[in-house]
Structure formats: C-alpha cells, structure tokens
Symmetry: C3
Subunit: 210 residues, 3 copies
C-alpha cells in the first residue's frame, strides 16, 4: 500500500495545484493585481480545508502550516500569469484535475473529521465544505453568486463521496483503503459523467423576480 | 418548568425551520439548483450559530453535529420548492416565526456564550451574531448587501434581547428562567412593533456617491 | 522601554479607530442604517484580528473580549456620522493613520501567532490577515471586490512587515523591540511611498471577459 500513499500525496498536490490555477485564472480575468491573483489562488486551494480545520478544532489549519500548499498556489499563479494562452488551452486537463481535486478533498475532508472523533453528519458536511469551500470563497471575493450553487453535479458528487467514506467507516465491511478507493472512483466518475452528459440538478425558477 | 423546556425546544426548531424557509425562498428566487437551495436554507438556519460556536470554542459547532437542524433545513427547502405558491401566501406566519427565531437565537446565543465562561461583551456580540449571522451569510452568498444592515429594527432587537440576558445574569434579581422569558418577550415585541409601525434606524445617505 | 509600550498602545487604538472610520465612511456612503454603520466600523477594526485568533486558537477572539475596541469603533462611527463633512476633509490624516494601522496590525498579528507557538508561515499569513482581513470583510459585506486585491502596494506592505518580524524572531540578531520598530518603519514607509509615487503591483488584464 506504499505506492497508494505516494499516489495519494501526488493527487493531493495535483488537486491543490489545479484548484489554484482555477482561482488564478478567475482573478486574472477580473483584473486583480499580482497579490490578488496569488491570494485568490491560495484561497481556492486551501480555503475549504481551513474552514474544515477551524470546525474540527485542528488548530492551526493545515493550509496555513504546510508550506507546500502555499508554494503550489504561488507556482500555479505564476504559471497562469506567465503562460496564460497555454493555460487557456489546458481546459480539458484542468477540468479533469479539478474533478480529481474535488473527489480527493471531499474524501480526505470526511476522513480527517472522523479521525478527529466527530460524528457522521460532521464528516459529511465538512467533506463537502473541504471540496467546495475554496470555490465558494473565490466567488464571494470576486463578487458573484457561487457557481456551485447554480449548476451541475459538483457539490452533490462531493456529498456522495463523503457519504461513502462515512458509511464505509461505519459498516467496516471492507478495509479503509478500499473505502477510499471506491469513494474516489464514484465521486470522480459521477463528476466526469455529469460533465460529459450535462447532468444538472433541477432548478425551479419560474419567477426570477429579483 | 418542564413545559417551558418543551416549549423552548419547539420554538428552537420552529425558528430553525422558518429561517431555513426564508433562505430557501431567496435561493429559489435567484434561480439556484436543488443543492444550492438546500445549502442556503441550512446556512441561514445554522450559519450564525456555527460562527458563534467557533468564537466560543464549542467544537464542533452544534449546527454540524445535531442532525435535526439539518433535517429541519432540508424539509424547509423541500416544502419551499414543492409548495411555493402556498409558502408565498404564508408571508404573515413566516414574519411571525422569523421574529420568534430572531429572539430565540439572540437569547440562546448570549446564554451559550455565558455558559462557556465568556464575558458580557462576548455574550452580547455573539447573541447578535447567532441571531443575524445566518441572514448575513445568505446575503453574502446571494451577492447582495445584507438586508439587516440597511433597514428596520432587526439586529437592534437582537441586541436588546442579548443585553437583557447579560444584565439579568449579572444582577441576578430574578431567576434565569424569568430573564429568558422577559428577554424573549421584549425582543420579539420590539421586532413586531417595528414591523407594524415601520420603525427604522436612522440612515444618513445625503451622498450616495458610490 | 516603558514609553515604547505606551506609544504602542496608543498606536493600536489609533489604528483601530482609523480602520473603524474607514468602515463607517464606506457604510454611510452605501446608505446603511445606524446599526449597519456601527457593524461595518467594528468589522473593519476587528475582523482581521478575529479571524487570526480563530486560526491560532485564541478563544474567544480579543476583538470580542476587549471592550475598548468596540468603544473605539462606536465612537468612530458616531464621529463619522456627526461630523461627516469634517471627516471627508480629514483624508490626509486618515490615510496616514490607515498606513499606521496596517503596519501595526501586520506586525502584532505576526507576533501573536509566533507567541502562540505557530511556525513562520502561519505568522506571515496571519500577519497579513490581521492587517487586511477587516477591509476584505468590509468589501464583502458592501458587495464589491476587495479593493486590496485590485490596486496599490497595501497587502504587500503588510507581507513585508510580517516577514521582517518572522525573520528577526528566527535570526535573533537584534532584540525583539528593535525588530518591531524596524518592521513598523519599513511597512509604514513602503505604504506611504507607494501612495506618494502611485506604486502598483502589476495587473495582467488583457482580457476582462467577465
């Protein structure tokens, strides 16, 4: 299982990096300055995890203490600024790694909450928060309605992933490594299928009065 | 006093439910999807309490651990979606229970802060936060200026309620059950009177330059 | 060094006060009511410090327990409302004390994080957060993109100040009082020079598509 943990570590960094690229891209399009772009990149990459750590009592939050998250965010911001035309053409890989990041963050978020002794509901809610919190903070800072509340199976995929972790941990039918793998595959697959076939959750806006 | 506690419990759930309905209604009007509506409903119902719990060190926040808050929010979202024309006609009862929720959250917020050993200022500030924090987060997520900062005696009623709890607790002239009842009545009455007679706090906008 | 601490204390209050004035001014211009103006004034003055205290585990946050911060914010709001034409003409002193507040908050933020036993990265990130967090929260509440992400050397000056504190604390070449003084002078001078000569960080918005 050693290879699994190396893979795991690589995926965590890849997810952080891609989340940061998505933040830096949005910040650049809004005309923010160099500091603003780095700040938004870091916020998207680490914001969800920081909120999770505050809620489970993991002080100080991992996003603030582990330098490689910050470095990954700054490198992502630098690449986005320096190689913007190239980054724009990377749409496919970015979507792919974003889905990976989403899955990974949802599952590690739920696992960390359980590891800190909290109950199933906390784990599911904070799994979702870890996965989508950064993106929500990005949209709040960029002054728009969080995109994940409006369209596509995104947070819902994170919900399913976190649920599988909690159920697997409760039922103990299989080893926790297998639970992790299954949760990752289901969450990631669901997100990719939703993108491929344009699956959306229902919207009920017969009266957009405001 | 057993009946009082049953009543208390019922009012807490009723407040949660009505706050969630107000969140779900606003989210639906903005065209959010099913997940977005549930997320905003839960945020309005539990957001203020979660911020309070983070500030007083009640980890994990009660809003994340007690499943009935989440269930109340999801039921409220379901009813808002399914029975929208009906919910719209419920304006009067919603305003009534919203005022109740405001009063109850302000008072329980202040009480919980005192129970965790914090001082009077913390209790008053977090009483207000518990009462209005969810609504502020809703307006931030829906990308508008928090309505409670703009009009009507709303947060101010919460301030009065929390102040009564802190004073009552400090002076100890009467039992804490009576303090709770008086604070509830004053806060609730003030809010209803403000609605009835359109009381507002002063605004000073001779130059809306921005 | 007793005089230094009296000066320090005076500057802390002056910074709090000026931050509150900037919040109250912005809130008044947006047409918020009396409570809204006080709430925004308090948020700008204490918001950054409260987020820092949540992240380092200083529960309850100092901004909530020390009554003089609240009083300074309310007095600042009262003066802004009552003497608005006067406050508007105070532009120069406000910018001067805002730069002082920025420097002071960045440095005390970094020092408090180190004093709680956290590492260099946490201290730098939370030094910046203390200095600019209140302004970011103000802009989020007033529904606009945080101005510090868009222009001028502002957060970057806080970053330099916090970095000097962390380096000084690590290298121990000089006493911590001297580190504080040097960090203050550099951060404050950098901010004033940036204002005087219109220094900005680069912006890369060849495509403001959104």
């Amino acid at each position: 299982m050693d290879k699994l943990h190396t893979l795991y570590y690589f995926l965590d960094l890849a997810g952080t990096f891609v989340f940061a690229v998505s933040g830096a891209t949005a910040a650049k399009q809004r005309g923010l300055d160099l500091f603003g772009i780095c700040a938004i990149a870091f916020t998207v990459a680490c914001g969800g995890g920081i909120v999770r750590d505050l809620c489970i009592g993991a002080i100080p939050p991992a996003g603030l203490t582990n330098w490689y998250y910050l470095v990954a965010a700054i490198i992502a911001a630098g690449i986005t600024i320096g190689l913007y035309p190239f980054v724009q053409r990377l749409n496919q890989p970015v979507i792919f790694f974003d889905a990976l990041g989403l899955s990974l963050f949802a599952i590690t978020g739920a696992q960390k909450s359980l590891a800190y002794g909290h109950n199933a509901e906390v784990a599911v809610l904070l799994g979702i928060t870890t996965a989508v919190g950064g993106g929500v903070l990005r949209d709040i800072l960029l002054n728009r309605i969080p995109v994940i509340l409006e369209k596509e199976i995104y947070a819902s995929a994170a919900l399913i992933g976190a649920l599988i972790v909690v159920l697997g941990n409760h039922l103990k039918w299989i080893s926790s490594d297998w639970v992790t793998i299954i949760a990752l595959i289901v969450c990631f697959g669901l997100r990719l299928l939703a993108l491929r076939y344009h699956w959306n959750l229902p919207v009920y806006s017969n009266d957009k009065t405001e």
